[in-house]
Symmetry: none
Subunit: 197 residues, 4 copies
DNA sequence: CCTTAATCGAGACGGTACGTCGTGTCTTTAT
DNA sequence: ATAAAGACACGACGTACCGTCTCGATTAAGG
């Protein structure tokens, strides 16, 4: 007699971890960050809560890890010699992170940042910083090429792009089109760094 | 000596509501938004949970109402004839909202906005919009006076100030000094609207 | 255009009381004693809770009053000269009280008797006692006629009929047919009082 | 002196269950069935409500289980060869259940039986039936010995004893003395089954 | 190859908070 | 004066998750 193959292979280590990350993103898509629970993730991953707590101290840690696992490892912008082109590329990189498949997860994390210093630090370092660094690089290369005023790329100027993109998505709740990104670059960023004529 | 006032007057309507708002802010200061609970608010306000749920559908609604109750009713900027001065005033208005006594509550709300459309709509309308309108007015008056280029105050330009302020507080976790606000105005906003010389 | 006559005549005194009694019985039939609430009665009677509490101290009091209001005022058994006939009549009187339209209310009260001395006393005096007295009278008249042994109608013998009827309905959860009542009389009660042959 | 045992051993399974049963009876004795609550039981047992609901669906179920746990496992009457003696023993068994230490709990259950079919079925099967069976056995053995008329022990005759005992305790609110039980046997039950002389 | 140690899955446990319902009291408005 | 309406403070309900824990069952690795 052939009984049903009830005994699914028991996963461990890396395989289990990946399955959990998938479960986190699926659960995020299904119920949203607001209703995300350890219990739900464990159930969807068909694992035990203890296997989650053994690896991560909190739901936040788990979500950060899952998002980081899914994000493109490196976020760089190729040098084209045209500052406007490169700025568009860098901002698109940031916008895509917020509107792509794991966008909801990312915005959830950004929104939750003020609630816990740990989350804030982790998210800043592992999600925000790499992308801002790409932008920073764009400015530095443009300054080196003499395309923008030396010293124009102050911290606030560098943060302006990310700030507007995030603000538009998070606070205003709008989608960002290609045209929007061009507007941001043309109306706000470039005027701030354009060399005196 | 008078006997102990065992029979505290039962509060109703406006008086009760104010007491609840106070309790919300006290609780926020005590445990933070992350650990804020209806139960805790009710206990601190010495009222019943049902009296909370009768008025507000959720903790979020309650917090919004409490914050709105505490915020200055109108947020306007006096016309001085100098666009830079007025911009500084408008941005300071926004920054003060985030760093003042109920700053943590406000940032909590902003952070939670992406989690619920209701919260987003309410917060946008009751907290963000009035302050952005003040800024909008500054631009319009400056345009009328010819201080800035006509048509320069596009939506993205108007949102730039708020975006940077919020981004700095929320995502970067920094305080904003007076100097910082001046930098934002001088380095980012004014260049975007300054009339061609 | 005249608006709908929203303002139903406001009831007072006797009229209101009767309406409340009706509501109690309707509610009992609808949700059972276990889920009977002051709130529900008030809503069904379209009156205010205070109008209930002004008249009765508790739900139990209200139910007792409602049941008593609905029960036949006097419960007597006509003398026929035949003790068996009269016993059948007296037991049928009791059984009908438990199985008639307000049967559920009565059994609820009997079941709840042990929970409050007040309820017990009230129910005993206003519901049980009159019916047992009718039975008692039957025995006394039969003894006077010599149909049963003098002194045979001890307290336990008198209570036997009511006890079995109530026990059958309440504990065993069975309906009582005419045949059942005959069996009780023939198999248990009459043997206990029959004169020695 | 050993340090305070802050970390009370976490109880599980059987040990926890027994502690809960104790808490139920203690709570019953303290506040009565009418004011018995899951919350109170959990607090007294120093456990969580979820541990109660995991095992029992309702307060009623819990009380039944607690009572059943406390009751003598088997309720049998030894054969003595004398039907009167055995009847007294069987009825005493029933009376003791109602007047013993957990008497209030038992009467509460009997009183609540009509309120829920589940409770009724459970109580009938787990509390009433075993004791009535003991009585049934007494009749059967007496019939086999020829002490009583064959066929005299009809269902109603068997139920007469329990009915009177329960009725006396529950409805009339009286205690039952040894003499009372003798009276019930001598005045009601024996006359119904005594062989024609 | 077989033991041994790790770790997985399952779920019980003591908690906290949830959002709802009913209580009995009290106040207000309108007959 | 009292009916109707409903707010209020309170307590309990039954549920959902939390983070901890115990307990076999499974699996990889070492002797």
């Amino acid at each position: 007699m052939t009984s049903a193959p009830e005994t699914r292979q028991r996963r461990r280590g890396q395989a289990l971890e990946t399955a959990i990350y998938d479960a986190v993103l699926a659960e995020l898509a299904a119920v949203g960050y607001g209703r995300l629970t350890m219990e739900g993730v464990a159930a969807r991953a068909r694992t035990a809560k203890s296997s989650l707590y053994r690896r991560w101290n909190s739901l936040e840690d788990l979500v950060i890890a899952a998002v980081h696992h899914e994000l493109p490892d490196v976020a760089t912008v190729a040098e084209t010699g045209d500052v406007r082109e490169e700025l568009l590329a860098a901002l698109t990189l940031i916008a895509d992170t917020l509107t792509g498949p794991i966008g909801p997860a990312v915005t959830s994390i950004l929104g939750g940042m003020n609630q816990s210093p740990n989350l804030q630090a982790a998210a800043r370092e592992r999600i925000v910083a790499p992308r801002v660094r790409a932008l920073q690089t764009v400015f530095e290369r443009a300054a080196a090429r003499g395309e923008i005023r030396a010293g124009a790329a102050t911290p606030f100027v560098v943060q302006t792009g990310p700030a507007i993109v995030i603000h538009t998505c998070l606070v205003r709740g709008l989608e960002l089109s290609t045209q929007d990104i061009e507007d941001i670059v043309d109306q706000v960023i470039l005027p701030a760094v354009r060399p005196a004529s």
